[in-house]
């Protein structure tokens, strides 16, 4: 059951991205920025947590889920350590993802050979 929910919600979030790409002048890079910020805001309003509870990876794997991780981390740190937590919380929560992106990203870029663009 969790797989069906993940498939449907994840698919819909990606479909929204496709509509934005085709119907607006937003480039993919801007879409990613929009999705992360949307994830942060929806989490702040308490909406995204419900989506995560319902769809699991369907909500956390799209980039809105990265925003969710950031906002959730900021909230938790603020509750534990006060105002300072707003600065540290997002990075702390996203550390695994950012570390992986930088480390694996660099290694993969160095060992691979780019194919000629078609």
């Amino acid at each position: 059951m969790s797989y069906i929910n993940a498939f449907l919600v994840g698919g819909i979030i990606c479909a929204i991205g496709q509509v934005l790409i085709d119907k607006t002048k937003l480039t993919p890079a801007r879409i990613l920025v929009v999705f992360v910020v949307a994830g942060v805001l929806l989490t702040a309003f308490g909406v995204y947590q419900k989506l995560v509870d319902f769809a699991g990876a369907g909500a956390t794997v799209p980039l809105t889920g990265f925003g969710y991780t950031l906002a959730k981390g900021a909230f938790r740190e603020v509750e534990q350590t006060g105002l300072m937590g707003a600065l540290t919380g997002g990075f702390k929560a996203a550390a695994a993802g950012l570390g992986a992106a930088i480390f694996f990203g660099y290694i993969m870029s160095v060992v691979s050979k780019p194919k000629a663009k078609r």
């Binding site: 990606c14 993919p28 799209p62 780019p114």
Partner: protein
């Protein structure tokens, strides 16, 4: 009835019909591929959870593994092929974030391992991180004053 179409009418007809059906097809492709990538994430998530890890560890590791996969398949020149087919279906998931790191870094390797690969990794990922972190700091500050 087709025979009564002049060339102009026909090309107008094609124009009026094709963008929508192309959009529809793009949406279906994005939906399917995006959905499948999320299911892969769910499989990894459930597998890690089944090993008894706590929930923070599970979500962190799931993102790390998905990012590894995205970077790996970009390096094999597979992910960009997928992107040509799936559009947002491969861009929006976190694997697409990894792709946005590796793809420009590979392309600019000729400019060196520091200012080429090292710097170009963040051409797209940089803005995402900047806006994501800034937004999270802002909502964190607001959260501090309303709790």
């Amino acid at each position: 009835m087709n025979k009564s179409f002049t060339k102009e009418e026909y090309s107008q007809y094609v124009k009026s019909v094709s963008p929508n059906s192309k959009l529809f097809l793009n949406i279906i492709k994005a939906f399917l591929v995006g959905g499948i990538i999320c299911v892969i994430g769910q499989v990894i998530f459930n597998w890690l959870k089944g090993r008894g890890l706590d929930s923070d560890m599970v979500s962190g590791l799931t993102s790390a593994i998905m990012i590894f996969l995205g970077a790996f398949f970009t390096a094999l020149n597979v992910y960009d092929e997928l992107g040509r087919f799936a559009g947002a279906g491969s861009i929006v998931p976190i694997t697409g974030f990894a792709n946005s790191v590796v793809s420009p870094a590979m392309e600019f390797k000729t400019e060196g391992y520091i200012m080429g690969t090292g710097a170009k990794m963040f051409v797209i990922a940089g803005p995402v991180i900047v806006f994501g972190i800034c937004a999270s700091i802002l909502v964190g500050i607001i959260h501090y004053f309303i709790i």
